[in-house]
Structures are given as structure tokens and as C-alpha cells.
């Protein structure tokens, strides 16, 4: 059995992916695609084209290297390591990190099937999206990993290739910056 963050997934699914079973791969893709895409789109300030590219690269890499996955690491850790690397690689070739154009796009990024019932709620959600996107990349990716999968700090540390202490520090600072920025936003709305 392959351990998956305290959860178990049959090695048969992995084995089927390894042996080139398209349906097995589709099932894995369906399970993770929205989480991977959500991380990418918030990491890249609402840029759907870059987020699609990154998501595609992650699953292509998964498809071509899954035969190397032997189960020593947890599958989710391995997958999110691919996500982190793809995001940081794409970010390095895409500067500046956060432009005014990105900010405007992030603020207008509609939540799919939005449940926002009123203007204030919609404003808040768009402000949070913009504030998360404006976090420094190392803090941003840590915050996004925490929200889009139920990873432990140990798993996040492995995905981010750093210590658990560093994960804790980045999450503390990231959330503090987020709260401060939201306070500033609310202040200007008063």
C-alpha cells in the first residue's frame, strides 16, 4: 500500500498509471486537477494561461516520471513537490512578480459558481485573492499548499524542500502579512 498523508491509496492505481492506463491516469488527474490549478492560478495572480501551462506541466511530468515513484515518499508530497517546482520555475522566467495589471485581474477573477451573496462579500473575496497573490512567493506557496490540500507541516516541508520550522515561520509571516493587508484594505473602505 502507498501511504497518502495518513490516508491509503491502492498501489493498483499507481501501478495502472505506470503501465500506461489512460483511465487510471484520468482518475488521478480528476482527483488533483482543481487543487493543482487553484494553487497555480492564485500563485500567478489570476493568470489562467500560465496556470493552465503549469498544471499541464505538472501532470505531464507526473505521467512521464510516475514509473520512478516507488512509494518511499508519500504520493501527495511527491505531487506537490512537482507543483512547487513548476510554480517557482515559471515564476523565475516571469518578472516582475506582481504588476498592477495582475492586481486588477486578480480582483476581478470570478469565483466559479460564486456563492457570494452580496457586494461586500464579493469585495472581500476579491481582496483576499489579491492580498494572497501579492504575498512574497515563498510565503504565498506555503499559504496556498495549506489551503488546497490537507497537508501536515511535515509534508509541506518535504514538498517545499525546507524544514518544518521554516514552514511554520513562512505560514506565520504569510498570514500576518495577509491580515495586515486586509486591515489596510478594510481601512480604505471605511
Amino acid at each position: 500500500m502507498v501511504r497518502l498523508s495518513g490516508r491509503e491509496i491502492s498501489t493498483e492505481v499507481i501501478e495502472s498509471c505506470r503501465s500506461g492506463d489512460r483511465d487510471a491516469f484520468r482518475a488521478l488527474y480528476d482527483l488533483y486537477k482543481d487543487r493543482v490549478y487553484s494553487i497555480a492560478i492564485y500563485f500567478f495572480h489570476g493568470d489562467a494561461a500560465v496556470a493552465s501551462d503549469v498544471t499541464q506541466q505538472v501532470f505531464l511530468k507526473l505521467m512521464t516520471t510516475i514509473h520512478q515513484f516507488r512509494g518511499e515518499a508519500e504520493f501527495s508530497t511527491w505531487l506537490y513537490r512537482l507543483v512547487v517546482n513548476a510554480c517557482l520555475d515559471a515564476a523565475r522566467s516571469r518578472k516582475p512578480d506582481f504588476s498592477l495589471h495582475d492586481r486588477a485581474r486578480m480582483e476581478t477573477l470570478a469565483a466559479p459558481g460564486s456563492q457570494e451573496e452580496d457586494y461586500a462579500r464579493a469585495q472581500l473575496a476579491s481582496s483576499v485573492r489579491a492580498a494572497v497573490s501579492a504575498l512574497p512567493p515563498k510565503f504565498r506557496i506555503a499559504v496556498l499548499l495549506r489551503y488546497f490540500d490537507d497537508l501536515s507541516y511535515d509534508q509541506m516541508a518535504k514538498a517545499l524542500n525546507c524544514s518544518m520550522g521554516t514552514v511554520a515561520s513562512r505560514l506565520s509571516r504569510g498570514h500576518k502579512i495577509l491580515a495586515e493587508r486586509m486591515k489596510a484594505v478594510r481601512g480604505t473602505q471605511v
Binding site: 461586500a120 499559504v143 520550522g165
Partner: protein, 350 residues
């Protein structure tokens, strides 16, 4: 002993990711260090804010591209034994169960009992039909027709009103903490002060042994209304002390007023520092205040400056005798000892 600041560990502490001995050290430090407590509250608010990030569905075009690149023989896929599908379905169930288990094991304390009062409240994605449980990290949500009651450990209960979204953050005996994302709760707590906290987007209600209602929307706008005992509403280094029979708007400068205060005064307090719709809310507050409304005036002292602060002091002095040891000059400088002494005297009238 006052240990090093614990800023770097606060997220892990809030997420229940610290080893028990480390968590105890952090907790001890927090009890002594207002700076780290304020930072902990700030991080908790940041975490609550991030909960507003919705998942975004991946475009279908991505799979089309992947499928084109898929290396493999279609006939082999068709003939592949279907057993993985059962395994996958089973795995999905285990993943869902595992997710719930993981949330439980990483919870820094115990589960609390939730009882449905009306309609179909839900904990996470699970509807509560009779009674259920909620642990740290989990959300309870009610729609327009549902209500629920949460038993808060051994110290009291929280009634969850319709249209409310509430997260349990900590369930430890030394810290019972909720985040009210939106809606209304009624807390009835019987415990020593500072064991029960409710975070909102604009500040934290700290129980000092009491019964109260708290409303808040996602922006932090709402009202704290104390029915029994005292509650402290704290944010950005400011503390609003709210006694029974008084309310405090949670947005703006957080100035409490008695519920039986003149309506004009209450409207002016609501408007103070939040909207510019009233010409001069301070004028109205000063002219309408009674002796008992020194509650409002005392909190205004530190929220205004210059000549306005002097006007507030003079009105308070006109309404109630200024006690010995409290000078105008010291009060206008917001000398902490002076304000504390004055507050101790005023408490008798609130």
C-alpha cells in the same frame, strides 16, 4: 520566566502542529507576552481571511492536451483489468475518511458535541441530523432555516443562529477558540476569564465570565451585546471593556455604549470613525451622555486626540467627580496608571 518571543511558531501553534511540550511552552509565553498574543490574533485573522479563497476548476482543455501527449496503446487500456477502478473508488472513500481522521488527529484538543436545534446545520460537508461532533479546524455552517448548539468543553455552550459560518480553532482546556466568519452566535460561558475567545475579521471577543451575543459579517462589521458579566473586545492593541447591558460595534474604533443610552448617542457611536454621514458624532455623544455613559466617554478618550480628548475629559468630569489621583494633564497624556485608577472608580457606576 519570560522566554523568547514565539512569532515563528504561532501558525504551527494555531494549527495544532507543535509537539505537546513545545505547545505548552508557547502557551506559557503567550500568557505573559501581549506582543505575541496580538501577533497570534493577527495570524488567526489571516488564516480566517484565507478561508475565503475558493477552489478554481481546471479548464477542460488541460486534459485534452494531456490526452494527446499520452504514451500508450489504446487497446491495452481497454483490456486492462478493471480492478483498479474498485480500488480507486475504495481509495476515494478512504481518502475522505482519512481526511476527516487527519483533521481529528491534528486537532490540538478534544471534539465538542454539536446538537441540531432546527433545520440541517452541517459540520464540514456532513449534515447534523441529531447530534454530532466538531473538532479544531472544522467549520459549522447553518442556512436560513437551521440552528445548532455547540457544547464548549466543560465551560459552556454556543448557540449558532441561522446563516452563520463558524470555525472551531482550538479546543484545549486552556484555550477554547472560535472564528466567526459570518452570522450570529450566543455564548454562555462559566469559566475563569480569558479561556474562551471568538475571532472575527475585525477583532477578538474575550470572555471574562459571561453571556453574550456576537454578530459579524465577512468584513468584520457587527455587534457584541453582553447579557451577563463582562466581555473584552480586543483589536490592534485597543481593548473595549463591555459590561452587561451594553453593546459594542465590532468595526470602527470599538466604543461600547449601554443599550438604554439615548438613541441619538447610540447612532453617533455607530457612526463615529466609520461613516461621515453625521456632521459631528462627537458633539452628539458629548451632549447626549448621562453619568452612566462615562462607559462610552472613557473608551473615547484613547480614540481621539488633541482638543477632542480635552472635550471628552471635561464632559466626564462634569458628569462624575474625578477621583483623587487622577489629574487632567495625566489623563490627557493617557497615562496608563491614571486611566486604570479612573476606570476602577467608574466601574462602580457601569
Amino acid at each position: 520566566m519570560f522566554t523568547r518571543h514565539v512569532s515563528r511558531q504561532l501558525a504551527a501553534h494555531l494549527d495544532g502542529q507543535l509537539a505537546p511540550s513545545k505547545a505548552r511552552q508557547v502557551e506559557l509565553h503567550l500568557q505573559q507576552c501581549p506582543r505575541c498574543r496580538a501577533e497570534r490574533d493577527e495570524i488567526s485573522r489571516g488564516m480566517a481571511m484565507a478561508e475565503h479563497l475558493p477552489s478554481v476548476e481546471a479548464p477542460a482543455a488541460i486534459w485534452s492536451s494531456l490526452e494527446r501527449a499520452f504514451p500508450g496503446n489504446p487497446s491495452r487500456q481497454v483490456s486492462a483489468p478493471p480492478r483498479w477502478r474498485w480500488a480507486f473508488a475504495a481509495a476515494l472513500m478512504v481518502v475522505l475518511a482519512g481526511s476527516a481522521y487527519w483533521r481529528f488527529v491534528r486537532a490540538p484538543g478534544l471534539q465538542w458535541e454539536v446538537t441540531r436545534v432546527d433545520g440541517a446545520p452541517s459540520v464540514g460537508t456532513k449534515a447534523i441530523r441529531g447530534a454530532g461532533h466538531i473538532g479544531a479546524g472544522e467549520w459549522i455552517e447553518t442556512d436560513a432555516r437551521s440552528r445548532a448548539t455547540i457544547q464548549v468543553g466543560q465551560i459552556g455552550s454556543v448557540e449558532v443562529a441561522p446563516n452563520t459560518r463558524l470555525r472551531v480553532v482550538a479546543t484545549r482546556p486552556d484555550e477554547h477558540r472560535l472564528t466567526l466568519a459570518r452570522g450570529e452566535i450566543r455564548a454562555t460561558i462559566s469559566a475563569p476569564p480569558r479561556l474562551f475567545f471568538v475571532d472575527t475579521a475585525s477583532g477578538t471577543a474575550v470572555d471574562l465570565g459571561c453571556e453574550y451575543t456576537l454578530t459579524s459579517d465577512e468584513t468584520g462589521a457587527g455587534l457584541l451585546r453582553v447579557l451577563r458579566g463582562w466581555v473584552s473586545f480586543e483589536r490592534q492593541g485597543l481593548e473595549s471593556l463591555v459590561p452587561a447591558g451594553a453593546s459594542c460595534p465590532t468595526r470602527g474604533p470599538g466604543i461600547p455604549y449601554f443599550d438604554d443610552a439615548p438613541e441619538e448617542l447610540k447612532r453617533a457611536v455607530d457612526a463615529f470613525g466609520v461613516t461621515k454621514t453625521l456632521d459631528d458624532p462627537l458633539n452628539i455623544i458629548l451632549s447626549e451622555s448621562r453619568a452612566r455613559d462615562t462607559l462610552t466617554l472613557f473608551h473615547l478618550l484613547s480614540r481621539v486626540d488633541g482638543s477632542d480628548r480635552a472635550r471628552v475629559f471635561d464632559r466626564m468630569a462634569a458628569l462624575t467627580p474625578v477621583p483623587a489621583g487622577v489629574s487632567r494633564e495625566q489623563a490627557l497624556r493617557l497615562d496608563p496608571e491614571t486611566l486604570e485608577r479612573w476606570k476602577d472608580t467608574l466601574l462602580l457606576t457601569w
